[in-house]
C-alpha cells in the first residue's frame, strides 16, 4: 500500500535552500524505503531565483538586483533554465522511477498533462510544449525539471499565478542567444500567468492543481516526517545554502 499510495503534503512557503533540500530528503527516504510516493505543493519565502544545475550563475542571474530586492538564489540539483519564483504554485512529484514512464520525455509529457488538466479546471486552455514547458497562447506559464537517482524520480516545476515582469527581468538576465531565438518580441512578453488569463483566486488554483495531480490515484494528506525535516535542514545548510554549490559554475 505504501508503495502506490501517494502522500500529499500540505502547502507551505519556505526558503529556496529548504525547498530544494526537502525534495532531496524525501527522495533519500524513498530510496531507503521509508517513504512512499509523495507530492508537494509549495511557495517561496522570500522570493527566489533557482538556476539549473549546469548554468553559469553570473550569466543568468543579476546578483546585484537580487540583493537589492531581497531575492534569494539557489542552484537546483536538476537541469533546465533559471526561474524566478514569486507568486506561483510550485510542485514536486517524488516517486519510485517505475511509477513514471521510463522515457524522460514521456515523463515530462505525463506531468505536463496534469498541469494542462489543472488549467482546464480553471477554464484556461494550455498545451504541453516539449521538452518541459506548458504554454497558454504560445506563452510560457509553467516549466519543469526532472531527475532520476538511485531509482527515484523527482520532478519539480512551477505554475505562475501572478507576474511581476519588471521584478522578474530585473533578477533574470536573458542570455543574448535567447534574445534572437525563434521566439519573437520582448522576452517579458513570452511568459504569462493564471491571473492574466483569468481572474481566479489563489485557492482555486491550489484546488485545481491538487485535484488534477491526485486524479485517479490513491492518496492521503500526510506530513513531513521528523527524519525528513532534520535531513532537509542538514542538506539545506550543507548544499543548497552553501555558496560553493551556488557558485559552482
Amino acid at each position: 500500500m505504501l508503495r502506490k499510495r501517494w502522500r500529499v503534503l500540505r502547502y507551505e512557503k519556505a526558503s529556496a535552500a529548504y525547498n530544494m533540500a526537502l525534495d532531496e530528503a524525501i527522495a533519500e527516504a524513498m530510496a531507503f524505503r521509508v517513504a512512499g510516493p509523495t507530492m508537494r505543493f509549495y511557495g517561496w519565502e522570500p522570493a527566489a531565483v533557482s538556476i539549473g544545475r549546469f548554468q553559469k550563475l553570473n550569466e543568468v542571474v543579476d546578483m546585484e538586483s537580487c540583493k537589492r530586492l531581497g531575492v534569494d538564489v539557489v542552484r537546483r540539483s536538476t537541469g533546465g533554465g533559471a526561474v524566478f519564483h514569486d507568486q506561483e504554485m510550485t510542485y514536486s512529484v517524488i516517486c519510485p522511477e517505475d511509477m513514471m514512464p521510463a522515457d524522460i520525455n514521456d515523463a515530462y509529457r505525463e506531468i505536463g498533462g496534469w498541469i494542462v488538466n489543472a488549467l482546464k479546471f480553471l477554464g484556461i486552455d494550455g498545451t504541453f510544449e516539449p521538452i518541459n514547458d506548458v504554454l497558454v497562447d504560445g506563452k510560457k506559464i509553467s516549466g519543469s525539471a526532472q531527475s532520476r537517482r538511485k531509482g527515484i524520480f523527482v520532478q519539480h516545476g512551477t505554475l505562475i499565478y501572478e507576474l511581476d515582469r519588471i521584478k522578474m527581468f530585473s533578477v533574470l538576465k536573458v542570455p543574448k542567444d535567447k534574445l534572437d531565438s525563434h521566439f519573437l518580441g520582448d522576452p517579458a512578453e513570452r511568459v504569462t500567468s493564471i491571473r492574466e488569463q483569468k481572474k481566479v483566486p489563489w485557492e482555486y488554483v491550489a484546488a485545481a492543481m491538487a485535484n488534477s495531480f491526485i486524479m485517479n490515484r490513491e492518496w492521503y494528506a500526510g506530513d513531513i516526517t521528523a527524519d525528513e525535516l532534520t535531513r532537509a535542514e542538514i542538506i539545506a545548510k550543507m548544499r543548497y545554502g552553501n555558496a560553493e554549490w551556488t557558485f559552482e559554475r
Partner: protein, 91 residues
C-alpha cells in the same frame, strides 16, 4: 575561452575551455539543458580533455559512444551539437 550555440528546441549549450600553452587542460559544459545522471556531466568533461576529442575525425561518434557506454543521456542537446563546439578547437 567560450563557444556557444543555441540548439534546435531552444536550449543553450556553452563550452568553456582553459589552456596551458597549447594544451587544453579543462573544459566546462554549461547551459539550460538536462543531463542524466547529472553527475555524469563532469565525467564527460574530463573525458573530452583526456581523450582530446576535438582532434578526432569523428567527435560526434566518440561522444555518442561514450554516452552510450556510460549510460548517460543528454536532453536538450545531442552529440552533434557538442561536436560542433569542439571542432577546430585551438588554444
Amino acid at each position: 575561452m567560450e563557444r556557444w550555440i543555441r540548439v534546435a528546441g531552444g536550449k543553450t549549450l556553452s563550452l568553456d575551455f582553459e589552456c596551458q600553452g597549447d594544451d587544453v587542460v579543462r573544459m566546462m559544459i554549461s547551459g539550460d539543458f538536462f543531463f542524466y545522471p547529472e553527475e555524469g556531466l563532469e565525467r564527460l568533461e574530463s573525458f573530452l580533455v583526456e581523450e582530446k576529442v576535438w582532434r578526432s575525425d569523428d567527435p560526434e561518434g566518440v561522444i555518442a559512444d561514450y554516452l552510450k557506454k556510460n549510460k548517460l543521456r543528454a536532453v536538450g542537446f545531442g552529440p552533434s551539437d557538442l561536436a560542433f563546439l569542439l571542432r577546430g578547437l585551438k588554444c
